[in-house]
């Protein structure tokens, strides 16, 4: 305890954290940085709920027999795991936490364009989250996160409507966040901050916002139709009354495929920042990386039916969607090549954020390449709805999105909290996450190809060895995720005070105090330099006491 008093600096500058105190100053704040922290708390909560479900799923799958939980409980577990992780963790994670915190800072604005709407979107998220929790605690839902009709409308006895409404409400939170970002990026850039000077993190968030704005309304209305169909039996999705269940799948995937890019694009933005900073170089092919984000967002809307190749859609349509799916792979590949090329002739530091970026590169590459398997019609028939798909999208969403998220949290933690985290522990955590992740999900590729269907709570015994490996990996992965939470919390009290620019990084967010003052900058910044001007920064080497652990 005496340590604590010692570690707090005697004179603290006024910043967004200490300007006001009290619950009210948080719950009614319109400061984007405080709202980001509100989001951080709430999505972390949901992450661990979703993670707990994942743990139970993996434990059940340790043995071929269905022994730990009942079949219907298992179905609820994977449904709630998917819904919580997708709608309450992955989609808001980077945009609502790091995006919220950094978008105004990076473009030199005092706040987002609509601060009250920003707060409203957090409240919508919380209302949706509370509805989801209520739904879980009073029986849960068992349709899978995909809500496929007619099972969800006519056969499930669980709380489908309530879960749907929870996601509907959370969807509007996502729409409003996207709206705020688009307007802010267009209207509130500091003088001199032209589009070609925007950090790639901003480009990525701009692309993400496009998807949030144009995709989310479609799933919202689709969930309304599902709720109405379930309550009133309208016939819209009921084949007995002439409805077509595949129409639901079209509408659902029209959002839910691009939604994958809501999760991965911001992460790509983070990786661009980290790789540039720790290679001490401007990102290779800046404009290609920037436009590939936009290309991914747009092409992402053209490929949804590749989730439906065996669903009974037309063979010709399948052909079109398969071809378009390969189109969206090109900008992703371009990004990976550019990041790799950025490291060429760099001056590379191995700090924790960079380790996460290395991890991202490896895992995203595997995730992306296995996407080629799934987009190939002939192979998709065999591997769709098996563990191959599970492995593929976890490589993208966990290996890609979560690695980026954690990398970003480490990179900007000194800015957010004004404290340094323990570098050694951070490196260890990055290593544990990487190993645990691969052990969990790599065996699932093999499981999928040898034919284990997804959403099975009992399975033929020949699948056991691979499942045991996967469960073992999940345990390691769980530890890897708990560690950062522990040392981040620890650092808030005991961490060394962070300098304003601990990494000697480019970008406006590093030019203000750590943590930043309420209105972000003491005087309005004027930008006179290009993005990633590391060659200039390198001429002024970091002072010895500033870096985290170098």
């Amino acid at each position: 305890m005496s340590m604590a008093t010692a570690s707090i600096p005697t004179v603290e500058r006024e910043n967004y954290l200490n300007k006001h105190y009290g619950v009210g100053s948080w719950l009614f704040t319109t400061d984007h940085k405080r709202i980001a922290l509100l989001y951080l708390l709430s999505i972390t909560f949901f992450f661990f709920i979703g993670g707990f479900f994942a743990l139970l799923i993996r434990l059940e799958l340790l043995t071929p027999a269905g022994d730990l939980v009942q079949a219907d409980s298992y179905n609820k577990l994977f449904t709630m795991h998917g819904m919580v992780m997708v709608f309450f963790f992955l989609i808001p994670s980077i945009p609502a936490v790091l995006g919220n915190f950094l978008v105004p800072l990076m473009i030199g604005a005092k706040d987002l364009a609509f601060p009250k709407i920003n707060l409203l979107s957090w409240y919508l998220y919380i209302i949706g989250g509370v509805m989801m929790l209520h739904c879980m605690l009073t029986g849960g839902v068992d349709t899978g996160w995909t809500f496929y009709v007619p099972f969800s409308t006519a056969f499930s006895n669980t709380k489908v409507v309530e879960a749907g409404l929870a996601i509907f409400v959370a969807g509007f939170s996502s729409i409003l966040t996207g709206l705020n970002f688009v307007v802010t990026i267009h209207r509130l850039r500091a003088p001199g901050m032209s589009w070609s000077r925007l950090p790639l993190f901003i480009w990525a968030h701009y692309a993400t916002s496009i998807i949030q704005l144009l995709g989310t309304p479609v799933i919202a209305i689709t969930l309304v139709l599902v709720a109405a169909e379930r309550a009133l039996h309208l016939g819209i999705f009921d084949p007995k009354l002439g409805g077509d269940p595949l129409l639901f799948q079209h509408l659902f995937w029209f959002y839910s495929h691009p939604a994958v890019y809501i999760m991965i694009l911001p992460s790509m933005g983070i990786i661009s920042e980290i790789i540039a900073c720790f290679s001490r170089k401007r990102i290779f092919g800046y404009s290609f990386v920037a436009f590939s984000s936009i290309a991914i967002a747009v092409f992402g809307f053209l490929v949804w039916a590749h989730h439906m190749f065996v669903a009974g859609i037309s063979v010709y349509a399948a052909l079109v969607f398969s071809l378009l799916s390969y189109l969206v792979a090109v900008p992703s590949a371009v990004k990976v090549f550019n990041w790799t090329a950025t490291m060429y002739k760099g001056s590379i530091y191995y700090d924790a954020p960079m380790l996460y970026a290395f991890g991202f590169l490896g895992l995203f590459t595997v995730g992306g390449l296995t996407g080629l398997f799934l987009a190939a019609l002939g192979i998709d028939v065999h591997v769709t709805d098996t563990y191959f798909v599970i492995a593929h999208f976890h490589y993208i969403m966990v290996g890609g999105a979560v690695m980026g998220y954690l990398g970003g949290m480490h990179f900007w933690w000194p800015k957010i909290s004004g404290r340094l985290y323990p570098e050694g522990w951070a490196k260890l955590a990055a290593l544990i996450v990487f190993i645990g992740f691969n052990l969990t999900f790599f065996p699932q590729f093999i499981l999928g190809y040898i034919g284990m269907p997804r959403r099975y709570y009992q399975y033929p015994p020949e699948f056991q060895v691979l499942n045991v490996l996967s469960t073992a990996g999940a345990t390691i992965l769980g530890v890897g995720y708990l560690l950062p939470m522990v040392y981040f919390l620890w650092s808030m009290r005991y961490g060394k005070p962070a300098p304003d620019n601990p990494w000697n990084a480019a970008g406006l967010e590093w030019k203000t105090a750590s943590p930043p003052p309420t209105f972000n900058f003491d005087e309005e910044p004027v930008v006179t330099w290009e993005a990633y001007n590391y060659d200039e920064l390198n001429r002024f080497p970091v002072k010895e006491e500033t870096p985290v652990a170098r």
């Binding site: 309304v224 139709l225 039996h233 309208l234 009354l241």
Partner: protein
């Protein structure tokens, strides 16, 4: 920037994070347009559903559409068009500083909007009486398909039509109700004299929203009321 602080001091409506009123106005305008863009996609899911089933069940839908009252539908279209005129006049009045004209047009818009909902209510009531509301008591037996006098419409397919009719017009009506709420607020603000030729963004943005809801109806009217109408 001393400039912006100066402006801020002069203009109580300028929020702290904007440098100048023009920037704030542009942000509001872009925000509204982007919001309307999401609304297009929101109704877009319904239009997609509509397209799929209208293509599949054209005859049954023609029969179902024919039971709608085209006079009431057309009247409502006219009512909304008139309200769009009063809205644009209100915006003009606000921009030119004519307070009484502004209030008058806002009130006229409210009256027209309420009239629209009233007429819609009459139509809904009729649907209930005729058992054309999807659900357990839905009935659509022995209705002939237009152009095929010996063929009866399939009640299930007609039910899908009415389901979409209620979802689409219902969501539209919900937007109207929200619009009326916005316009009541605008009227109160106008009454208090908040809007000046320099500051009238809320009137303009409310107007954009109202016109958008009008455009949705401009499509709903032919799509729902005018399928296969000819004798």
């Amino acid at each position: 920037m001393p400039d912006s602080q100066l402006t801020a001091a002069h203009n109580p409506a300028l929020l702290h994070h904007f440098a100048e009123p023009q920037q704030q106005r542009d942000a509001a305008s872009l925000g509204t347009w982007v919001f309307l863009g999401t609304e297009i996609m929101f109704f877009g899911g319904l239009f997609c559903t509509y397209l799929v089933y209208r293509r599949g069940y054209f005859g049954d839908w023609g029969a179902a559409s024919k039971t709608l009252d085209v006079t009431l539908g057309a009247t409502n279209t006219a009512v909304l068009i008139c309200s769009s005129l009063t809205v644009v006049l209100a915006v003009w009045a606000a921009q030119t500083g004519r307070r009484r004209l502004l209030i008058g047009n806002l009130l006229a818009t409210l009256v027209l909007g309420t009239a629209f909902l009233g007429i819609k209510g009459i139509e809904y009531k009729e649907k209930f009486e005729k058992h054309h509301v999807p659900g357990a008591s839905f009935q659509f037996n022995n209705v002939r398909i237009p152009g095929h006098p010996d063929q009866y419409a399939n009640p299930s397919h007609a039910e899908i039509f009415f389901a979409l009719y209620f979802v689409m017009t219902g969501l539209h009506a919900l937007h109207m109700i929200v619009g009326i709420g916005i316009f009541i607020w605008l009227t109160v603000m106008a009454w208090k004299g908040r809007f000046t030729p320099e500051y009238n963004t809320p009137v303009e943005m409310g107007g954009l929203y109202w016109h958008f809801v009008d455009i949705i109806w401009i499509y709903l009217f032919p799509l729902l009321y005018l399928i296969d109408r000819h004798p």
